[in-house]
């Protein structure tokens, strides 16, 4: 759509010229001393969410970093409340500063009993306070600790996490939840139903593992197998099903398209069991066709 892209570009340029550029930044009076040594951070801070929220209010660098008088005489990291990598304060001590204002936020009402808190995560481990955009850079920040998820999200079958279409916080409440896995919903299925409404049913013929827990069959962060399957079909299906005829059949190296004897085997080639059992999540047919109709 080349024309659409060009028109959008022109529109944005015109809009920018219309709005113009802002004048010089405003710095809180008692942060001027900080700016002498920390010029860039102080300048960046004015454009951050905190900087904007505190415009015209009696807040400054000292609101988070504590009394700066001692630090002006002794500019070491120990003489001030430091949130940097080499901070001497514990996560609890640092978080107290943030919670002093944000404790009443509904988003972090369960922080005290959250997994992240019990693992000594500080707010600043994820949130960059001084920059213009203080939203957590997902998923990069999450991947710093969750390496297994990082590996899964890069596999060939994955939710569009690395493409930026889904964020970790769309499924997980990173500040705490009463659900296992810090899910934003009561359980896995109700979470999946938010985006996959077509899987809700209710169906005439249900498939029990589907109804109980989507993660019995699917690996939601990513998988080597198509459609986020934990195992390849037919292996996944045969881990539970073994009846006479085809569900107990051994689909071995001679079951492919080039098979000797019978020309290929529909229970193995291409999409395997799903070649026929297309309605695997449930069927609304009034007759029982074992999810084939």
């Amino acid at each position: 759509m080349p024309n659409t892209g060009k028109k959008s570009l022109l529109l944005i340029i015109v809009m920018t010229l219309f709005w113009g550029v802002s004048p010089a930044m405003e710095v809180q009076a008692d942060s001027i001393a900080c700016a002498d040594c920390h010029e860039k951070i102080t300048a960046d801070f004015q454009d951050s969410y905190h900087g904007r929220a505190w415009t015209g209010k009696k807040h400054s660098c000292q609101s988070c970093h504590g009394d700066t008088a001692r630090h002006l005489d002794d500019p070491s990291q120990e003489s001030i409340l430091s949130f940097g990598e080499k901070s001497r304060q514990t996560a609890d001590e640092l978080n107290k500063m943030c919670l002093g204002c944000h404790e009443s936020s509904s988003h972090i009402s369960l922080w005290d009993m959250s997994k992240h808190n019990s693992n000594d995560l500080a707010c600043i481990n994820c949130h960059d306070i001084h920059t213009r955009k203080s939203e957590v850079a997902q998923p990069k920040v999450c991947f710093n600790c969750h390496s297994s998820v990082r590996m899964d999200a890069g596999k060939i079958s994955h939710h569009p996490i690395v493409e930026g279409k889904i964020e970790c916080s769309d499924c997980h409440n990173t500040h705490g939840s009463l659900s296992h896995g810090m899910l934003v919903e009561d359980d896995i299925n109700q979470l999946c139903y938010r985006c996959h409404a077509e899987k809700r049913g209710p169906f005439v013929w249900e498939h029990p593992p589907v109804e109980e827990d989507c993660s019995i069959c699917h690996a939601p962060h990513g998988s080597r197998h198509e459609n986020l399957m934990k195992e390849k079909v037919s292996n996944l299906c045969q881990d539970c099903h073994n009846a006479n005829l085809h569900s107990g059949r051994a689909y071995d190296g001679d079951a492919g398209f080039a098979a000797t004897g019978r020309a290929g085997n529909i229970g193995f080639i291409a999409r395997s069991c799903l070649n026929c059992h297309g309605n695997i999540h449930g069927s609304t047919h009034f007759e029982n066709h074992v999810y084939t109709r």
Partner: protein
């Protein structure tokens, strides 16, 4: 294009409050990026390359604007304007008083391009065999398996500097396209293009009270799902293959969290009730009613009742505790359907209406020892009761974990965690009264399903973070997990998982940043099975024959990934260079053994390798303007026996090429200008 114009109009209106105030000048910040990209890839195989993206020779634009005046601010962002993966977000707030958000997002999901089918009516619910082309695959109609998703909505929260707040949101999600659907029978299977035309509308509401110690809220969620196509006509039989039904989902929940209790305690309580309903008839699905059908309409009715309570405390110094209880009850009151099948036998879904109840409780403790060492341990109990599950009516899980973490050294953080789970299952032997091994139900006594059967699980995880110097960080992680399904004769008997991960970041003299990672994952799964036909013995102790024998397989899946990235700011005056490279390799094999000794191993099971290289040179034309020249290379090679020597047509069966030909190679070049203000 229209969506962009509407967004800008709304933006203009919403920024007017910022300019309406008289005493302060509005601050405007932002950036614009615009460029052109050239894409060279093979048209047919590019579905995986652009699975969730829109990438063609085209202009691309992104912008980001912020307006602030006093305590009111507004942000407006847009990415990939006008393309199939474009997104817009407009949000604003007056701190403490109100906030709002409008969003629009498009996400393509490209599965396979250039699929083929001998049908007419592709893209509709009425498929029929195209007799003029069925004899030659080259003449079949071409189409793409692709579904486009569009989501748009808004959310508003009002609190007006009080502890009370109200939050209301609306959202619509539309999905349009075609995805593959299998149907038919073993000898007459049809892979069909399923038309996707879904609309989901959501309304959310939350009202609550929040202060430093107390948060109480009530939430409502109402979602309706509409599928334009209720069925798909199977082209070979003319019969209906049913598609997902319309449904309504309503949920009401309440939450309470209360801090500041004695012993630094916090109490949290949650309860919810939700209902999902569907309604359809034989006529809606274009079905022929079977003999002796008791009702021609189905009312689906599933409810979930959920409750949770948790109490965390610090009863003595350095000791943290948490005790919790959760329950979830799924009730299925859907219609019972009864009919007689072609053999005159009574069939009903009554024994397939599935319910369950889960009760879960646990205790976690953490204790701060000397020398920056923290010890944690926990016990968890889970009890699941099921109705109409064919095998396991109930199971009980007991799990324990221990963890130790040490940060006493400036340069090292170490953590070790171990977890053990024991599951006991009430196995329901559905063939207890079947004594004839040639009865097909005889086999049920041996089958255990891994999600609910007895098992023991051990899991160990070790992680190290090392900071030998100020500018150098290393991370190592190893995880091992084994599930032993000790009571299983037929089914998954054991699975093991090893995972290694390492990464590093080196910031050398603030001039170079070098980072890298490597990961290796090894998964082994063993299962046992019995192949037997009509009249054969289902007993695993029977003498093997050419048509009835026990067999097993061992699946070995290896996955390796590694990458390097280097960032060189000011490599020459005003020029920065970023280079990143990643490699992935997946290797699967399945080794068979059997009583008849004739099975062949599979050496290509979802085997693939993928390389990504990106090089970016950024020239700082001015302090507020950059020019970026970029190049991206991707190569993906896929090999799997299930797709080797692919044939679209076999006797009576038709495939369309879904997920066939996944390999691709792509080169992308782009030139971009970024302006900041």
């Amino acid at each position: 294009m229209k969506k962009g114009v509407y967004s800008l109009v709304i933006f203009s209106l919403l920024t007017s409050p910022a300019f309406a105030a008289e005493d302060e000048e509005a601050k405007v910040r932002g950036s614009i990026e615009a460029g052109y990209r050239v894409v060279d890839d093979q048209d047919n195989n590019r579905a995986h390359f652009i699975e969730f993206k829109d990438r063609d020779d085209d202009f691309f634009t992104s912008f980001d604007l912020s307006v602030q005046k006093g305590s009111y601010y507004l942000d407006f962002m847009g990415n990939e304007l006008g393309l199939n993966d474009q997104s817009y977000l407009l949000k604003g707030t007056n701190y403490g008083k109100f906030s709002y958000e409008f969003f629009y997002e498009e996400t393509p999901h490209n599965m396979s391009f250039d699929a083929k089918a001998p049908y007419t009516g592709i893209g509709s619910q009425d498929l029929d065999i195209d007799n003029s082309t069925i004899g030659s695959v080259a003449d079949w109609s071409s189409f793409d398996y692709s579904v486009d998703r569009k989501e748009f909505g808004a959310q508003v929260e009002i609190s007006m500097d009080t502890p009370f707040y109200v939050n209301v949101g609306v959202q619509r999600r539309q999905q349009d396209g075609i995805k593959p659907l299998g149907g038919g029978s073993f000898w007459l299977n049809m892979e069909m293009p399923e038309p996707v035309d879904y609309t989901t509308d959501d309304i959310t509401f939350q009202g609550g009270y929040r202060n430093k110690n107390l948060h109480a809220s009530v939430q409502g969620y109402w979602s309706t799902f509409d599928n334009t196509n209720k069925y798909l006509t199977q082209p070979n039989t003319g019969e209906s293959q049913t598609l997902p039904p319309d449904n309504d989902y309503r949920k009401l929940s309440a939450n309470l969290s209360w801090r500041g209790l004695p012993y630094q305690s916090m109490l949290a309580v949650r309860t919810s009730y939700s209902k999902i309903e569907s309604h359809f008839s034989v006529d809606d699905l274009n079905l022929t009613a079977p003999a002796a059908l008791n009702t021609d309409t189905f009312d689906g009715d599933v409810t979930y009742t959920q409750g949770s309570i948790a109490l965390s405390s610090r009863p003595i110094a350095d000791l943290d505790t948490k005790i919790y209880f959760n329950f979830l009850d799924k009730e299925n009151d859907s219609s019972v359907i009864r009919y007689q099948d072609v053999r005159g036998l009574d069939v009903s879904n009554a024994d397939q209406i599935f319910d369950y109840e889960k009760n879960n409780a646990g205790l976690d403790v953490g204790y701060d020892l000397a020398r920056h060492t923290k010890l944690a341990a926990g016990y968890e109990y889970l009890d699941v009761d099921r109705r109409n599950r064919d095998d396991a009516e109930a199971n009980t899980d007991h799990s324990l974990f221990f963890q130790i973490k040490n940060t006493s050294l400036d340069f090292l953080t170490a953590k070790l965690r171990y977890k053990r789970l024991e599951r006991n299952s009430d196995f329901d032997n559905k063939s207890a009264g079947v004594n004839d091994p040639t009865d097909e139900d005889y086999i049920k006594r041996y089958i255990r399903r891994y999600d609910a059967t007895d098992k023991s699980m051990d899991e160990i995880k070790l992680s190290l973070e090392i900071y030998p110097m100020d500018q150098l960080d290393f991370g190592f992680e190893y995880a091992y997990k084994i599930n032993d399904y000790d009571e299983t004769n037929l089914g998954l008997t054991e699975d093991k998982h090893h995972e290694f991960y390492a990464d590093f970041v080196w910031r050398a003299a603030k001039k170079v940043t070098l980072s890298g990672f490597a990961g290796y994952e090894m998964t082994e799964a063993d299962s046992s099975h019995r192949q037997f036909g009509a009249g054969d013995s289902a007993s695993i102790d029977a003498v093997p024959t050419s048509t009835s024998f026990n067999w097993s397989n061992e699946r070995d899946d290896d996955f390796i990934t590694y990458g390097l990235a280097i960032n060189l700011p000011d490599i020459i005056e005003k020029v920065s260079l970023n280079i990143s490279w990643q490699y992935q390799e997946s290797d699967g094999e399945i080794n068979f053994s059997s009583q008849d000794g004739t099975l062949e191993d599979i050496n290509q099971s979802d085997d693939y390798d993928k390389q990504e290289l990106e090089i970016k040179a950024i020239y700082a034309l001015r302090q507020d303007t950059d020019i970026t020249l970029g190049y991206l290379y991707e190569k993906y090679d896929y090999d799997d026996l299930q797709y080797d020597d692919y044939e679209y047509s076999q006797t009576g069966s038709y495939l369309t090429g879904a997920y066939y030909e996944q390999s691709y190679e792509a080169n992308v070049g782009y030139l971009m200008v970024a302006y900041r203000f």
